[in-house]
């Protein structure tokens, strides 16, 4: 059974929708869900004023409509499945710990910021600071998986501490900015300044990267962990080619201005 929330009309002002998380909604009746308080601009409104509610008591929640001005969907969720049939606003899935969010369109900035577990699947593109750290936080994403079928904006994985971010398309500038650990897999081109300030993380670049001068080449080899990660991504539907699993990668170590234990692995052309 699925709980469906259908946006009645595009909101005139941003809607803060943090209560819309499956683990919380599952315990509520239809009436209680309609009476949930959401912030719409500078006013508090009932959820039922903005969404038509169908069904109840389900950990499978579907939100339908043009949700680009709806922020914080699935924030802190600890289980269940949230499907967003449309594009979602910023801060989707921030701090989530378990469960799955599937965005059938694009997602705004800060998606999965500081998340600790679970999975976010974006069938469109993602904005800035995907899986990133908020201002004042040292660590961004600390676990879980984010998969993006389209492109990702600047500073994807900023402050990444643990977990996996995979982007099928382009990745914007400064991916892995100040990342502490974790893995970013970029199937498309990677923007400038990748890995700036990175300490221990891995960026895997399938289509090359414009490297900072503070990265130094180590060797070309087959990193044994990559088949596991790429196999996992293939299982989850990402476009992983056999050449990428079997391929040789040049390891660039950096960032030399930081700890220098990070790496950017660039897929070499097959011989």
């Amino acid at each position: 059974m699925t709980l469906t929330l259908t946006l009645r009309e595009p909101p005139a002002a941003p809607v803060l929708a943090e209560p819309l998380r499956p683990d919380r909604l599952a315990a509520l009746s239809g009436g209680e869900i309609e009476r949930l308080a959401l912030r719409h601009g500078n006013r508090e409104v009932a959820l039922g004023d903005l969404f038509a509610v169908s069904g109840a008591g389900a950990r499978d929640v579907r939100v339908v409509g043009d949700l680009r001005r709806v922020t914080g969907l699935g924030t802190g969720m600890t289980g269940g499945r949230l499907t967003i049939a449309g594009s979602a606003g910023p801060h989707t899935g921030t701090g989530m710990r378990a469960g799955e969010i599937v965005v059938q369109g694009d997602v705004g900035d800060w998606a999965g910021a500081e998340m600790r577990g679970g999975r976010i699947v974006v069938h469109g593109s993602a904005g800035r600071r995907l899986g990133g750290a908020y201002a004042g936080s040292r660590a961004g994403m600390r676990g879980g998986e984010i998969l993006v079928d389209g492109d990702a904006g600047e500073e994807a994985g900023a402050g990444l501490r643990r977990g996996l971010i995979a982007v099928a398309g382009r990745v914007g500038a400064a991916a892995g900015l100040n990342a502490l650990a974790g893995t970013i897999v970029a199937f498309g081109p990677v923007g400038a300044h990748a890995g700036a300030g990175m300490r221990r993380a891995s960026i895997v670049a399938m289509a090359g990267a414009d490297l900072l001068p503070t990265y130094a080449p180590a060797c070309t080899y087959r990193p044994p962990f990559l088949p596991l990660f790429l196999g996992r991504l293939r299982e989850l539907g990402m476009p992983v080619a056999d050449d990428q699993i079997d391929g040789r990668y040049t390891r660039w170590s950096g960032d030399g201005v930081e700890l220098g234990r990070g790496e950017i692995l660039i897929l070499e052309e097959p011989l």
Partner: protein
């Protein structure tokens, strides 16, 4: 009891609780996985002298392994969980880590775990790095060849050690032929290994000895050459050679199934008599009665 051409003695194999782990070794080629697995399971015939018992469970297709390369599943058993953890660290560290192109993964998804990769990571001298994928942590250890990948934790289960069949033949050749047939029939059983060379032991032992400090000695009652010298010989007329197959398993079911297959194959392949070893039933908690294995 008769089974095919053999007499089956109405007795039982007495087995003990042992803790077991499944180690999945992968490599660039099946040959290198085999090199590593054979080293890993070498000198591990009996806890009496080797501190553990180990064997190759089966070869794995690339499609069955975590990293998509050819591999081998090996089982390793020790008397307790702590001992098993120590043996795993020692053996994986000396035989798999050192072997070109290999990686090493846990093959048991169970609640009880011991740390293996999390200990071996120190070989990286600070240059090691970890990766977490789907809740499992892996360690990347830089080595001269490139990089060794090993899972941090390995699952362990309370299994069974010391299931056995004792095969009596007319001479060395016929006893060996029957034992080889038994081992060949037993090998496909998942979750069981026969830790002795080729799966067969020619020197079954008894507990204790007339010599102080010797904890095990030759099982004189089943030595054909002593038949005329000892009062309690169990070697019947016409028997010139006796071989034993020891079976360790991740549970009672694999041991029982391996014994059932081995019993049948040995009885079809020239064994005169098949029996099993026990200590009167007072030492080991697992009793595998041969009469229950005869169809």
């Amino acid at each position: 009891m008769r089974l095919h051409d053999a007499e089956v003695v109405d007795t039982f194999a007495e087995a003990f609780a042992m803790w077991g782990a499944r180690i999945v070794v992968t490599a660039q080629t099946p040959a290198w996985a085999d090199h590593a697995a054979r080293s890993l399971t070498g000198f591990a015939t009996s806890v009496i002298g080797c501190k553990c018992e180990a064997g190759i469970e089966r070869e794995l297709d690339a499609a069955e392994t975590p990293d998509g390369r050819p591999g081998i599943a090996a089982l390793l058993f020790a008397m307790d969980a702590d001992g098993l953890a120590k043996r795993l660290v020692e053996r994986v560290g000396q035989t798999v880590l050192t072997c070109p192109t290999t990686a090493c993964f846990n093959g048991l998804d169970v609640d009880d775990e011991v740390i293996v990769g999390g200990r071996l990571r120190y070989f990286g001298d600070g240059w090691q790095a970890s990766k977490v994928l789907a809740g499992r942590r892996y360690w990347r250890i830089p080595v001269m060849e490139g990089e060794f990948l090993i899972e941090e934790r390995f699952g362990i289960v309370e299994g069974v050690g010391g299931g056995n069949l004792i095969i009596l033949g007319e001479d060395e050749a016929s006893a060996l032929r029957a034992a080889e047939a038994a081992v060949a029939a037993m090998r496909p059983v998942e979750g069981a290994i026969m830790p002795f060379p080729g799966g067969i032991a020619r020197s079954g032992s008894k507990v204790g000895s007339r010599y102080k400090g010797q904890i095990a000695s030759t099982n004189h009652v089943l030595c054909p050459t002593l038949r005329a010298q000892v009062d309690d010989s169990d070697v019947p007329d016409g028997v010139g050679s006796v071989l034993e197959i020891v079976i360790d398993g991740l549970g009672t079911d694999p041991v029982r199934e391996a014994m059932r297959r081995g019993l049948d194959a040995a009885a079809r392949s020239g064994a005169l008599r098949i029996t099993a070893g026990n200590y009167g039933g007072n030492l080991g908690p697992h009793h595998f009665h041969l009469r229950e294995l005869v169809p």
